[in-house]
């Protein structure tokens, strides 16, 4: 087997567990196929967050296995067949819970780092 690609150091690696939340968020308004989800996350984060295909598809299947996502085959605007993922009711609840958890954590970390550090890093 050929060697797996290594991440380039300039890109920000996703925190453990955040990928699931980002995927759920990406499909909260309309169903998307896997590539579309990756694009949505990249565009939404202004190119900072890059989702590897090698993590994306296992994550999609895991979320589907946990019944947070449902999938259906459909056609793209170029009329190509692709598998579309949509949020289930359980997925929506999970996303809300995860988001509020994330906000609490993000605020806490911001407080910990404090204004001095924030200035230093800017």
């Amino acid at each position: 087997m050929p060697p797996a690609r290594r991440d380039t150091p300039t890109r920000v690696e996703l925190l453990q567990g955040t990928l699931d939340m980002l995927i759920l968020r990406a499909v909260r308004r309309q169903p998307l196929h896997g590539y579309g989800i990756a694009q949505a996350i990249r565009a939404g984060s202004q190119e900072v967050l890059q989702v590897e295909t090698g993590s994306l598809y296992p994550a999609l299947h895991r979320l589907e296995g946990r019944r947070l996502l449902k999938s259906q085959w459909g056609a793209t605007e170029h009329n190509q067949r692709a598998k579309y993922y949509a949020l289930t009711a359980a997925g929506r609840r999970h996303l809300e819970a995860e988001q509020s958890r994330w906000h609490v954590m993000a605020e806490a970390i911001a407080r910990l780092l404090g204004p001095a550090d924030a200035e230093a890093s800017s």
């Binding site: 797996a4 090698g54 598809y57």
Partner: protein, 883 residues
């Protein structure tokens, strides 16, 4: 299975389609952005990465992925193992040795001790015995049973039985055969929860009214052997002691009675006792409180605990002590589990079971050490493979799991071979027969329980031999692994292997020393003088009570038999005996030696007794050291006489002339005069210390079952037929059993068990040695391969072959010596604890301590020779170029 695999396959196809889609989408996007088709293609591929890896990782998230991965790993492992057949064969054979030994040992221990009775809820069925200061467990009398049944609410029922010998007329043409039967009480089968496999068990009517239920339930093995498993026997009549019984059913094959040693041919209602033995004693067994012959299993009532039952029983025995103070003083009832009762009954079986299991586990450990050593060596060779896998993103846990799968594949191979071997060995063991007509219940067999143990042994060994090497292989740092080109951790790992090999050598030394000591002890045992001359003697047993003879008829019958036997051509002498040595069926008697002071409360001394006739001492070659033997004049009308052995004379009449002294034959019994002193021989075991023994004339004591001993001029076996014909000419109904060459009987009876023990130990020792030699060979051969370049260099600068051989041998020799020293140090205390467990193990002879190391040295040195010789054939130029 097919369906789900099919489902998996279609799901995989769907995944492939799903992963192909983004490639197209991305390419299209690139094209739209203005790339050339080629550039778009490359960019899309780069963006999406390795579809194979993505596909595999995604599939790992599916349910059942573990199964699929394991299956994949297993197939991969089989492929790898097939590519290194030498390793695979060695490892599998080693494991097969260990697993076979463990499986066999467990099946022996199971048959001897562990296997529970095949009854309903065996855990709630307890063994109920009497307990006195003298005896930890004794049987109960019928009146005891009645009292307990009436007063003990915490027991829902009792299954009591006594073992008897009956004469069964199986066909019209043959004489009756002597068989063991279990006389069972009312509700026996119901309390146990054992149903019939054909027909039915007893009805309440058959087992509760005296003399009514002439019904018999056959044992399964007996039914198979005598009636060819014919279900049509139910309803047929079977004459037992001349009384026609109706066969009502057959017991299931799993239920072979209540003893793990004696298997009854049939079950009879105890209420038929008086019809089977019509010669009335003053009191029947149903009324005699001192006739304690019932083996009892008691079932706890629903909700009651063993402690409740013990409390109830204490009350019953307290009442009995008041009602019958003479019979119940110091006597209580005792409950034990089946396992406790078995262990208490025969502590030797616990020791044997433990020793056999221990030896087997040592062999298994050596085998595991062997495979672990081989794995370490392979781990070194596979370092690169592992490094590549780590580089490809396999996690540590994933690698470990893959290696463990490989180990399991190996262990499974060993298990299949080992269990197959165990089947063969166990079949051979089951064929071992003790020298009696007694059908043994001791069913050494490979059953589900044994297979479960084999499985546990397999898994445990896979874990033991595999985990350390797997951990090693998985923990290597990636960069070092890749850079070092296949030699990382080599030194540490070789050291680990060296320790393993030295440990193996040490364990084999222990095994061999034990085996050697046992062989020694066995040789000493075989040279012990048994006190009887066994050559040219034929023995056969008779029991006229089986066909309803009373005491007077019995005496007359035996007189006729002996007289006629003495006139048979080829017969030198013929004698009657109540028992023969080396079968523990001596009756014992409480006697009172006159003039010997006894401690307070002790009414007599217990000694074993042989009933003998006037020709006994002559026929058996037991010499008399004083006085005379029994004469024809010592009969039922003459004064009581006795002969003691020299040990008994020394114990109770020290320093005085014994002939002419007297002893009481029971605490309140009549006096008998001592007329002679016989030389002390061996009675129960060749290893026993001198025992007191008493001889009484058979004509003065009623006993129905006697052994006829005939000393022949020629081959004793030739007399078997004429003697049987002689008995039949006196009474054709009379069964003749246990017809044997006395010499063979004695060898089997006195030496059979120790011989088996010696064989088991010797086999374990040989297996251990073989495994250690394989381990050492593997290590040295590996070292030679590793040092090819070095050896080549040495030879290039002029080292001679002898020097090269010495170089290689030195490593093997130092390991052997280290292991040997450890082994010798460990085996001495081990030996002493073994000697404490078994009588007749003998002493640790210096010869063993010299012979074992020499044997080991020879074996290990020859194991090193092959690789050493190969080292001398190394071509220096090629070896150096390869570097």
């Amino acid at each position: 299975v097919t369906w789900s695999w099919f489902g998996r396959r279609s799901r995989r196809a769907e995944l492939d389609a799903e992963l192909a889609a983004p490639l197209e989408i991305a390419r299209r996007a690139r094209l739209d952005a203005g790339d050339t088709p080629d550039a778009a293609d490359v960019a899309a591929r780069r963006e999406l990465g390795n579809a194979l890896v993505v596909s595999e990782n995604t599939r790992d998230t599916w349910r059942g992925a573990l199964v699929e991965q394991t299956w994949r790993d297993a197939r991969h492992a089989v492929g790898l193992l097939r590519r290194s057949p030498a390793f695979t064969v060695t490892a599998i054979l080693s494991l097969a040795f260990g697993i076979c030994a463990t499986t066999c040992a467990f099946s022996i221990a199971d048959a001897l001790l562990l296997r529970p009775l095949a009854v309903r809820e065996p855990g709630r069925l307890l063994v109920l015995t009497g307990r006195t200061p003298q005896a930890a467990a004794e049987e109960l009398s019928y009146p005891d049973l009645v009292d307990i049944r009436e007063q003990c609410r915490s027991l829902s029922g009792m299954a009591a039985s006594r073992t008897v010998r009956v004469a069964v007329g199986e066909s019209r043409v043959e004489a009756a055969q002597a068989r063991f039967a279990l006389m069972v009480t009312d509700g026996f089968f119901d309390v146990l929860g054992v149903g019939a496999s054909v027909g039915r068990t007893f009805t309440h009517d058959e087992t509760s009214v005296r003399g009514r239920g002439a019904a018999v339930v056959l044992g399964h093995a007996y039914w198979t052997a005598r009636f060819g498993s014919d279900p049509g026997v139910v309803g047929r009549s079977l004459p037992i002691n001349g009384v026609p019984f109706t066969i009502v059913g057959v017991a299931p094959p799993t239920f072979t009675g209540l003893s793990q040693f004696l298997q009854p041919a049939m079950f009879l209602p105890v209420v038929m006792t008086e019809r089977l033995w019509p010669h009335p004693e003053p009191l029947s067994i149903f009324d005699r409180r001192d006739d304690r012959a019932f083996v009892v299993r008691a079932r706890l009532a629903p909700g009651a605990s063993a402690a409740d039952a013990a409390r109830d029983l204490a009350l019953v025995s307290a009442r009995l002590r008041v009602a019958h103070p003479d019979l119940h003083r110091g006597r209580s009832f005792h409950l034990a589990t089946e396992l406790q009762a078995r262990a208490g009954e025969a502590p030797a079986t616990v020791a044997i079971a433990g020793a056999v299991l221990g030896l087997a586990i040592v062999v298994l450990v050596i085998a595991c050490a062997n495979v672990a050593g081989l794995q370490l060596a392979r781990g070194q060779a596979r370092a690169q493979e592992m490094a590549t896998r780590v580089a490809m993103g396999a996690g540590h846990a994933r690698l470990l799991r893959q290696l463990m799968t490989e180990n399991l594949v190996l262990a499974a191979g060993g298990a299949v071979l080992g269990v197959a071997g165990a089947f063969t060995v166990v079949r051979a063991l089951a064929a071992l027969q003790l020298p009696t007509d007694t059908p043994l219940a001791l069913a050494v067999a490979v059953d589900l329980r044994v297979l479960a143990v084999a499985l546990v042994a397999t898994l445990a060994s896979a874990l033991v031999f595999g985990l350390a090497p797997a951990w090693r292989a998985g923990s290597g740092d990636l960069a070092t692994l890749l850079r070092a080109r296949g030699t990382p951790g080599l030194e540490g790992s070789t050291r680990a292997r060296a320790v393993l090999v030295a440990g193996q050598v040490a364990l084999s030394v222990v095994l061999l020393v034990l085996a050697g000591a046992l062989v020694d002890g066995f040789r000493q045992l075989a040279s012990v003088d048994p006190g009887v001359r066994a050559r040219d003697v034929l023995m056969l047993e008779l029991d006229p009570a089986l066909v309803g003879y009373g005491p007077e008829e019995t005496r007359q019958f035996y007189r006729t038999v002996v007289e006629r036997a003495r006139t048979l051509p080829g017969v030198r002498t013929a004698a009657l005996a109540g028992a023969v040595p080396f079968r523990p069926n001596f009756s014992s008697r409480e006697v009172v030696p006159e003039g010997h002071p006894l401690p307070d409360g002790v009414r007599g001394v217990r000694v074993s007794v042989t009933l003998a006739d006037d020709a006994y001492f002559d026929t058996m070659g037991t010499s008399l050291v004083a006085g005379r033997g029994f004469g024809r004049g010592d009969d039922e009308r003459s004064p009581l006489v006795a002969i003691v052995n020299a040990e008994m004379a020394r114990l109770y009449w020290p320093g005085a002339g014994v002939v002419g002294r007297r002893l009481r034959l029971a605490p309140d019994g009549p006096f008998a005069e001592i007329v002679g002193v016989a030389r002390t021989g061996k009675y129960v075991s060749l290893a026993e210390a001198p025992q007191p023994h008493l001889y009484l004339p058979w004509s003065q004591h009623d006993r129905s079952r006697l052994t006829l001993l005939v000393r022949a001029h020629g081959e004793p076996g030739d007399l078997a037929r004429p003697l049987a014909a002689l008995v039949r000419s006196i009474d054709p109904r009379q069964p003749v059993f246990n017809v044997r060459d006395f010499q063979t009987y004695m060898e089997q009876g006195a030496l059979g068990v120790p011989r088996t023990l010696v064989r088991v130990a010797a086999t374990a020792g040989a297996a251990g040695l073989a495994l250690a030699v394989i381990g050492l060979y593997g290590l040295v051969a590996f070292a030679v391969t590793r040092r090819t370049a070095e050896i080549g260099l040495r030879m290039a600068v002029g080292a001679r072959p002898a020097q090269v051989i010495r170089l290689v041998m030195r490593q093997g020799l130092s390991l052997t010596l280290a292991g040997m020293a450890m082994g010798l140090v460990a085996s001495v205390p081990l030996f002493h604890s073994l000697a404490a467990l078994f009588v007749g193990v003998g002493a640790l002879s210096p010869l063993t301590l010299v012979a074992v190391p020499l044997l080991l040295l020879g074996a290990t040195m020859s194991a090193c020779l092959a690789p050493a010789w190969r080292a001398t054939r190394i071509d220096p130029t090629r070896a150096l170029r390869a570097e």
